[in-house]
C-alpha cells in the first residue's frame, strides 16, 4: 500500500431508493494500489457505494471522481473498471475463453492478442484447461476465478468485488481469500472489496471502512478498526465484545458490582460518572482472585476446536464472554474469577 495518489474519490454522495436511504453522505478516498474493504451488515449501503463507483447507480447528490476526473454522470461502460459480481454473472451462452475475452473484444483487441491475454489471465487465477467449457460446467470456485480473470484481463483502473466469496463454502472461501490477496498484490490494481464478513475484511485489506445506515462509521487499517474502534457498533461488528456498565470511583478506577477494576481509557474519569465499557473475549482471562478480577459464574462453555468460548454471568446477570485457547478448564455452573486487564477496555457511549 502506498500513501499515494487518490484514485477514487467520493464526496458527499447521497443515494436513496424511494424512502430508503442507501447512502447518507459518504466521503471516501481510495489510494493507488490499496485494497480497501467496505464492511458492514446488509442494508448498510456498501453495495450501493460499490454500484455508485462502478456507475450502475447515479447518486442523488455528491461527486464521484476517478483520477481526479468527474465521473458522476458517466455511464458504467465508459469508466474502465473491472467488476466481480456476487453471482459471478458469467455469460452462459459463451465459453470461458469468450467470457474472459469479452472486455478485450469490446476494446477492439485483435483475436491473437486477446487469446494470449486470456491465457495469461486464466494462468494468473490458476485456472488452466477450461477455456473451451461453458460456465455451467464449472464449479463455483472455478466460476469465481473466471469472473476474476475476466475483470482483470482488461487491466482496469480499479477492481470492484461485490461479496465475491459469499457463495463459496468455508474451506474454499478461506483459500480464495488468500489467493485473492496474492493476486491483488501481484497485479497491484487498486481494489474495492465489499463484504459483511469481518474476518475477510481484516485479513485482506489495507484499509477497512465500516459502514452502517449509509455512513462510514470508521475508516482505518484493520488494526485501527479492531483495536481502536470508534463506536460501539464498530467494536461489536468487528470482532466480538462484551458490554459492561461501571461507576467511576476515581480518575482511573471503576467499580463493577463491588469489584475494583483499574482501567486505562486515555482520559481521566470523574468520580461518580457512569462509564460504559467494552472488552473483547480474548482479553478476558480466567483465574483466581486478584487485582482487576471480578467473580462470575460460568453459564456455558462452547468448544470450538482451536479455542473455547466461555460464557460468564456476573452478579446481576450481565453477560461476559471469555475466549480461551484449546479446551476450557472450567465447566458450566462453576464459580470463577475473570481477570480484566486494565488496558483491555474500550469506552463506548
Amino acid at each position: 500500500m502506498s500513501a499515494g495518489k487518490t484514485v477514487v474519490a467520493l464526496e458527499g454522495v447521497r443515494k436513496a431508493y424511494g424512502a430508503t436511504v442507501a447512502m447518507d453522505g459518504v466521503d471516501l478516498a481510495i489510494d493507488e494500489g490499496e485494497l480497501l474493504t467496505l464492511l458492514g451488515p446488509s442494508g448498510c449501503g456498501k453495495t450501493t457505494t460499490l454500484n455508485v463507483i462502478a456507475g450502475f447507480a447515479v447518486p442523488d447528490a455528491g461527486h464521484v471522481r476517478i483520477d481526479g476526473a468527474e465521473v458522476t454522470d458517466r455511464p458504467a461502460w465508459q469508466r474502465g473498471l473491472g467488476v466481480v459480481f456476487q453471482s459471478y454473472a458469467l455469460f452462459p451462452h459463451m465459453s470461458v475463453a469468450d467470457n474472459v475475452a469479452f472486455g478485450l473484444r469490446e476494446r477492439g483487441v485483435g483475436r491473437a492478442e486477446a487469446g494470449d491475454r486470456v491465457r495469461e489471465a486464466l494462468a494468473l487465477v490458476r485456472l488452466q484447461g477450461v477455456a473451451d467449457r461453458r460456465p455451467g460446467q464449472l464449479s463455483g470456485g472455478q466460476q469465481q476465478r473466471v469472473a476474476l480473470a475476466r475483470a482483470l484481463v482488461i487491466r482496469p483502473r480499479v477492481l470492484l468485488l461485490d461479496e465475491p466469496l459469499a457463495a463459496l463454502d468455508r474451506r474454499l472461501r478461506e483459500e480464495m481469500r488468500a489467493e485473492l490477496r496474492e493476486i491483488q498484490r501481484a497485479v497491484g490494481t487498486t481494489t474495492v472489496f465489499v463484504t459483511h464478513d469481518q474476518h475477510e475484511a481484516l485479513g485482506l485489506s489495507d484499509r477497512v471502512a465500516v459502514m452502517r445506515h449509509g455512513r462510514i462509521e470508521q475508516l482505518g487499517t484493520p488494526e485501527d478498526v479492531y483495536e481502536r474502534p470508534a463506536t460501539a457498533f464498530v467494536a461489536d461488528f468487528v470482532g466480538a465484545s462484551s458490554a459492561l456498565t461501571a461507576r467511576a470511583t476515581s480518575g482511573d478506577l471503576v467499580e463493577i458490582w463491588g469489584a475494583r477494576i483499574a482501567v486505562r481509557l486515555g482520559r481521566t474519569l470523574h468520580p461518580g460518572e457512569t462509564v460504559r465499557l467494552l472488552i473483547r473475549p480474548e482479553r478476558v482471562a480466567l483465574g483466581s482472585a486478584g487485582p482487576n478480577t471480578i467473580p462470575a459464574r460460568v453459564s456455558g462453555v462452547m468448544y470450538l476446536g482451536d479455542h473455547s468460548e466461555v460464557r460468564l454471568e456476573l452478579v446481576d446477570g450481565t453477560r461476559l464472554v471469555a475466549s480461551v485457547r484449546g479446551r476450557a478448564a472450567v465447566s458450566a455452573g462453576e464459580r470463577v474469577f475473570a481477570h480484566l486487564p486494565e488496558d483491555a477496555f474500550l469506552e463506548t457511549r
Binding site: W77, S87, E106, A151
Partner: protein
C-alpha cells in the same frame, strides 16, 4: 376399488375421444371419393386434396396468409420484446394498466374487436388495404409475444447486462451480445405462438378482409358456407397436420411446455 378405477379410465377415454373425434372425422372424411361428407367414407381418394390445392381462391388466400402472418409476426416481435423488457425490468408508472391493455386482445370477444377494427378502418378509408389486416394480426398476436418474451426476460439475470457494461460494452452492444442471445428461447416461442395464432385467426379477420385480401381461414369459411364437399375436410386435414408438426417441433426444440407453465414454474392466467 377396481370399479372406481375403471370408471375413471372410461371417463378420461371418453373425454379424449370427445376432444379428438371431430378432428379424426374430418381427416377420415377428407378421403371420401364422392362429393358428400360421408362418414364412414366409401373409399379412398385424394381428389379433394387436389381440388383444395388448386382452387384459385385458396391459393390466393394461402399467399395472403403467409404475407399477413409473416408481417404481423415481424411487427409484433420488437414491440412485444420492448414491452416485456420495460414491464418486467422497470417500475413503469401504471404497470398494471399497461399489462392489461397489452394483454387485452385475448379477453375481448373476436366479434367486438372485428367490428371495431372494421368501423375504424372504414372511417380511415383503409379497408381495401392489406395493411389493416397486418396491423390487426399484429395486435392480436402481441399478447402471446409479450407473454413468451416476458418469461425469458424474467429469467435473465440483470447482473449479466451490468457485467457486460462494466467490461466496456455500450448499451446497443450489450443488447446485441448478451440480452438478445439469452432471450432467444422466449423469442422463438413468441414466433411460434404468433404464427399459430395468426395462421388460425378467423373471426376478426372475417370482419376486416375483402375477397382480395382474405386469409385462408376466412376463405375456408366462405367455401363451407356455400359448398359442402370434402374439399374443406382435405384443407382442414392439411391445417391440422401443419399445426401438429409445428407444435411437436416446438416442444422438441424449445421445451414448449415450460413456457406454457405445464412444467417448471407455475404461471397463472389464461393462455388461449
Amino acid at each position: 376399488m377396481a370399479a372406481a378405477r375403471a370408471t375413471g379410465v372410461a371417463v378420461v377415454v371418453l373425454l379424449l375421444a370427445f376432444l379428438t373425434l371431430p378432428s379424426l372425422v374430418v381427416i377420415v372424411v377428407s378421403f371420401n371419393p364422392t362429393a358428400i361428407m360421408a362418414f364412414p367414407p366409401h373409399g379412398l381418394s385424394l381428389r379433394w386434396y387436389e381440388n383444395a390445392l388448386t382452387y384459385p381462391q385458396f391459393q390466393r388466400a394461402a399467399v395472403n396468409s403467409l404475407i399477413v402472418t409473416a408481417a404481423a409476426t415481424l411487427l409484433a416481435l420488437p414491440i412485444g420484446t420492448a414491452a416485456a423488457l420495460a414491464l418486467v425490468r422497470h417500475r413503469v408508472a401504471a404497470r398494471a394498466v399497461w399489462a392489461a391493455a397489452l394483454l387485452s386482445p385475448v379477453v375481448v370477444p373476436g366479434v367486438a374487436a372485428g367490428l371495431g377494427f372494421l368501423i375504424l378502418a372504414a372511417g380511415l378509408g383503409l379497408l381495401a388495404s392489406r395493411w389493416v389486416l397486418i396491423a390487426v394480426h399484429a395486435i392480436l398476436v402481441l399478447p402471446f409475444v409479450l407473454r413468451s418474451v416476458s418469461v425469458s426476460v424474467a429469467n435473465l439475470d440483470p447482473a449479466l447486462e451490468r457485467a457486460a457494461a462494466s467490461l466496456g460494452a455500450r448499451p446497443s452492444r450489450v443488447f446485441r451480445r448478451v440480452t438478445l442471445p439469452l432471450l432467444r428461447p422466449g423469442l422463438a416461442a413468441a414466433v411460434l405462438f404468433a404464427v399459430i395464432v395468426s395462421a388460425n385467426e378467423f373471426v376478426v379477420s372475417l370482419f376486416v378482409s375483402t375477397r382480395v385480401t382474405e386469409i385462408l381461414p376466412v376463405a375456408m369459411f366462405t367455401y363451407v358456407v356455400n359448398y359442402s364437399d370434402p374439399t374443406m375436410a382435405a384443407l382442414s386435414t392439411l391445417f391440422i397436420a401443419a399445426t401438429f408438426v409445428a407444435v411437436v417441433a416446438a416442444e422438441r426444440w424449445l421445451g414448449l411446455s415450460r413456457v406454457f407453465g405445464l412444467e417448471g414454474e407455475a404461471r397463472g392466467g389464461p393462455s388461449r
